[in-house]
C-alpha cells in the first residue's frame, strides 16, 4: 500500500561570518582601451554561479552589456582578499565590493567624461558603454576610447572598493548581540511524499518553495540553488548515513554512502520573494546553505502526516519506517 503525506518547514539563516569577525571582500574594476572591462575578485565559483552574479552586478552598475566584463585574478597572488566561498557570503560581500568599485568607476566615467566634453556632469548621459552630451547625441565617446585618451595622460579608468561592514560580537554570557549576522534569509518549503508500506521506502513527489532572497540577481541561478540545496537536504533526510563500527567507517564510498540519484529528484516549484530588505547588492541575500535546511523537517512532518509516526533521528530509513509501522499496528 502507498500512503501519501504532506509536510511543511520554515527556516531562517543568518549568513556571513558575523559575530564580530572582520569579514570583508575587495574588488577592482578596470576599463581597458582594448574593449574589455576587467573585474578582479578572488571569490571562488564552486558551481553556484558566483562569476555570473558578479558579472551581472558590474554590468548593471556600469550600464554596459555583460559580454564586455571579464573576470580576472581568480588567484590570491593577483588579487586582494575576497574571503572564502562559505557561510553563504559571496553574493553579499563580494557582490557589494563589486557594486561599490563599479560605482566608484561610474563616478570616474562622469569625471573624465565631463573633461572630455568640456561640460558639467548633469549634462552628460552615460549608457550602453557610451558617454554623450545631452544636446548632441551624435557626439559620443565609448568607455574604451575614453580609457585610451586618459591613458595617454598617464591615468586609468579603474577603481577598487572594500566592503567591510561592522559585525557584532555576541555577549560572552548570553550569546546575544544587536545583530549576530549581516542579514537573514527566510524560506518555507512544503514537501509531498509517498510511503510504500511494504518496504518503508519514501518517494518524494513535490517540493514547493518560497524563498525570501531579497533580490534575485539571477533568478534561474537562485532556482538552481534551491533545487541543488534541497536535493542535498533530501539526501540528509533519507539516505545519507556514515556508518561507523569500532572506529571504522563501513561505507567510505559512493556505492554505499547514498546520495540521491537523478531518478530520485522530485518536481520543484519555487517562488522568489524580493523585498530588497538587506544591505546586500540591490537588496540581495545569500541563498547557498539556507536551501538545504528545510528538507529534513518538512520530510519528517510529511512522514507524520502519512503514517502518524514521529521519527526523530536522521536519516529516515526504510527500516525506521517499517519498524514504526509494525509497532503502530501492535
Amino acid at each position: 500500500m502507498k500512503k501519501k503525506g504532506r509536510g511543511m518547514a520554515t527556516i531562517m539563516f543568518g549568513f556571513g561570518y558575523g559575530e564580530g569577525f572582520p569579514d570583508h571582500s575587495i574588488a577592482e574594476v578596470e576599463i581597458t582601451p582594448d574593449n574589455i572591462i576587467k573585474l578582479r575578485t578572488a571569490g571562488a565559483d564552486v558551481g553556484q554561479g558566483f562569476l555570473t552574479t558578479m558579472t551581472q552586478i558590474a554590468a548593471e552598475v556600469l550600464k554596459i552589456d555583460p559580454s564586455y566584463i571579464e573576470i580576472v585574478g581568480q588567484d590570491t597572488h593577483q588579487s586582494k582578499n575576497s574571503g572564502s566561498t562559505s557561510a553563504t557570503r559571496q553574493t553579499f560581500f563580494s557582490g557589494n565590493a563589486v557594486r561599490e568599485a563599479s560605482e566608484e568607476l561610474m563616478g570616474k566615467l562622469y569625471h573624465y567624461g565631463s573633461l572630455h566634453f568640456n561640460s558639467n556632469h548633469p549634462e552628460l548621459t552615460v549608457n550602453n558603454g557610451e558617454i554623450y552630451h545631452c544636446e548632441n547625441k551624435e557626439d559620443k565617446i565609448t568607455y574604451f576610447e575614453l580609457a585610451d585618451n586618459i591613458k595617454k595622460r598617464g591615468e586609468s579608468l579603474s577603481a577598487e572598493a572594500s566592503f567591510f561592514p561592522k559585525t557584532y560580537a555576541p555577549d560572552k554570557k548570553t550569546g546575544q548581540t544587536e545583530k549576530n549576522y549581516v542579514a537573514y534569509t527566510f524560506m518555507t518549503q512544503v514537501i509531498d511524499l509517498k510511503i510504500d508500506t511494504d518496504t518503508g521506502l519514501i518517494e518524494v513527489l513535490n517540493v514547493y518553495t518560497a524563498l525570501d532572497v531579497g533580490k534575485a540577481i539571477n533568478p534561474i541561478n537562485v532556482e538552481g540553488q534551491i533545487e541543488g540545496g534541497t536535493v542535498q537536504g533530501l539526501g540528509m533526510a533519507l539516505t545519507e548515513d556514515q556508518v561507523i563500527k569500532d572506529g571504522i567507517t563501513l561505507n567510505p564510498d559512493m556505492t554505499n554512502y547514498l546520495v540521491p540519484s537523478i531518478k530520485d529528484i522530485p518536481n520543484f516549484e519555487s517562488i522568489l520573494i524580493e523585498n530588497e530588505d538587506s544591505d546586500g547588492p540591490f537588496g540581495a541575500k545569500g541563498v547557498g546553505e539556507p536551501t538545504l535546511i528545510a528538507a529534513s523537517p518538512a520530510v519528517a512532518n510529511a512522514v507524520y502526516d502519512a503514517i502518524g509516526v514521529r521519527i526523530k533521528q536522521l536519516p529516515i530509513t526504510p527500516e525506521k519506517i517499517l519498524k514504526a509501522l509494525e509497532e503502530s499496528h501492535k
Binding site: 508500506t197 511494504d198 518496504t199 518503508g200 521506502l201 518517494e203 533519507l238 539516505t239 556508518v243 563501513l250 561505507n251 556505492t255 554505499n256 547514498l258 540521491p260 540519484s261 537523478i262 531518478k263 530520485d264 530509513t317 526504510p318 527500516e319 517499517l322 519498524k323 509494525e326
Partner: protein, 299 residues
C-alpha cells in the same frame, strides 16, 4: 606481494593493453588455445565489478583475459524449445531485445533496474552470474526461468543448472581455467505470469536490499500449475523459495493463503545485517513483498 604505493613515480604502469600478457582472443578456438597455455588468468567481461573491486590495485593483475572480441559469446539464438544468450550480452542489449521482453518479462525488468545506463552498457549477463553476488539483479529471474549455464575449458564443456551454480557469497562452481560461454533458458509452452521486485534505498544505481522474482503458470481453470519464486540479497546465494512454491501449487486464485506463503518465504531466507539493511528488515520486507507480488500476479 607487490606493495601498493601512494608514490605515483614508483607505481608500476605496465598493466592492461601495455602488457604482452593481455590476451584478447577473437574466437572460441583462440580462447581455448590461451586457456591451454596459461594458468591464473584474470578474466574480464564488462569490467563493472572487476574494475571496482580492484580499484587502485589493477597493476597487481599479471595476466588478463579479455572476452570482448569473441563474437560467438555475444549471440542470442532462439530455438523452438530454448533460447541461448551468450555470456557477453550486455544488460543494455537484454533490455532492448523484444524477444526477451516478450518471453522473459521478469528478466527484462531486472535488467532495466540494474545499475545505471553506463553500467548496463558495459556489464554483461555472464559477468552478473560469475560475480555471483547474492544481490546480482539478474539472478532471481534466471533461477525462476530454470536457466542453465554452459561452461567451457580447453578440454571440455559442461552444463550446470543455475540452482546448483552458486555456492556462497561471490562463490560458484567454476574451476580455474573455466569460462562461462552461454546461458540456456528453456522455452515453455505454458503461458506464465511474472512479477519482479527490487527494493533499494534509491531508484537507480543501487545494490538491492532485497529482491524477488515470481513466475506462475495457471491452468485453464485458473489453478496454479507451476510456481517458481526466488529471492536475492537475503541469503549467502540467490535462493529459490521451494517451500513457498510447494504451498502455491494446486491453489486457486481465491484459495491462496498469502500469509502462509509469506511466512514460508521468510523462514527459508537467512539474511544478515549489513549496510543495505538489517536482517530483521529483510525478513519483514520478504513477507510483505511476497504478499504483494502474489496479489499482483493473481490480479
Amino acid at each position: 606481494m607487490k606493495k601498493q604505493s601512494k608514490d605515483v613515480k614508483n607505481r608500476p604502469t605496465s598493466s592492461g593493453r601495455d602488457s604482452k600478457e593481455y590476451f584478447r582472443p577473437k574466437s572460441k578456438k583462440e580462447l581455448k588455445e590461451i586457456l591451454k597455455n596459461n594458468d591464473i588468468l584474470t578474466i574480464i567481461a564488462g569490467g563493472t565489478d572487476l574494475l571496482v573491486s580492484n580499484y587502485q590495485k589493477l597493476y597487481k593483475i599479471d595476466k588478463w583475459l579479455d572476452l570482448d572480441l569473441i563474437d560467438e559469446f555475444k549471440e542470442v539464438k532462439i530455438f523452438d524449445d530454448k533460447i541461448e544468450i551468450g555470456s557477453m550480452v550486455t544488460h543494455d542489449r537484454l533490455v532492448r531485445l523484444e524477444k526477451i521482453k516478450e518471453l522473459f518479462p521478469i528478466l527484462h525488468s531486472a535488467a532495466l533496474d540494474l545499475g545505471s545506463p553506463q553500467i548496463r552498457s558495459r556489464g554483461t549477463i555472464g559477468g552478473n552470474i560469475v560475480t555471483s553476488s547474492p544481490a546480482g539483479d539478474l539472478l532471481p529471474p534466471l533461477l525462476v526461468y530454470d536457466a542453465e549455464v554452459v561452461i567451457i575449458s580447453d578440454q571440455e564443456e559442461r552444463k550446470v543448472d543455475l540452482n546448483t551454480f552458486f555456492t556462497g557469497p561471490k562463490k560458484n562452481v567454476l574451476k580455474e581455467g573455466e569460462i562461462l560461454e552461454k546461458i540456456v533458458i528453456p522455452l515453455k509452452k505454458d503461458k506464465s505470469r511474472g512479477v519482479w521486485k527490487k527494493v533499494g534505498k534509491r531508484k537507480a544505481l543501487v545494490i538491492s536490499s532485497i529482491s524477488l522474482a515470481l513466475n506462475i503458470v495457471f491452468d485453464k481453470d485458473n489453478i496454479i500449475k507451476k510456481a517458481k519464486m526466488a529471492i536475492g540479497s537475503a541469503a549467502p546465494v540467490p535462493l529459490r523459495i521451494k517451500s513457498a512454491e510447494e504451498i502455491l501449487i494446486g491453489q486457486s486464485l481465491d484459495s491462496i493463503d498469502y500469509i502462509k506463503v509469506a511466512k514460508a518465504a521468510a523462514k527459508q531466507i537467512s539474511p544478515i545485517d549489513d549496510i543495505r539493511g538489517t536482517a530483521e528488515y529483510r525478513i519483514s520486507v520478504a513477507k510483505n513483498i511476497t504478499k504483494s507480488a502474489l496479489k499482483e500476479v493473481t490480479k
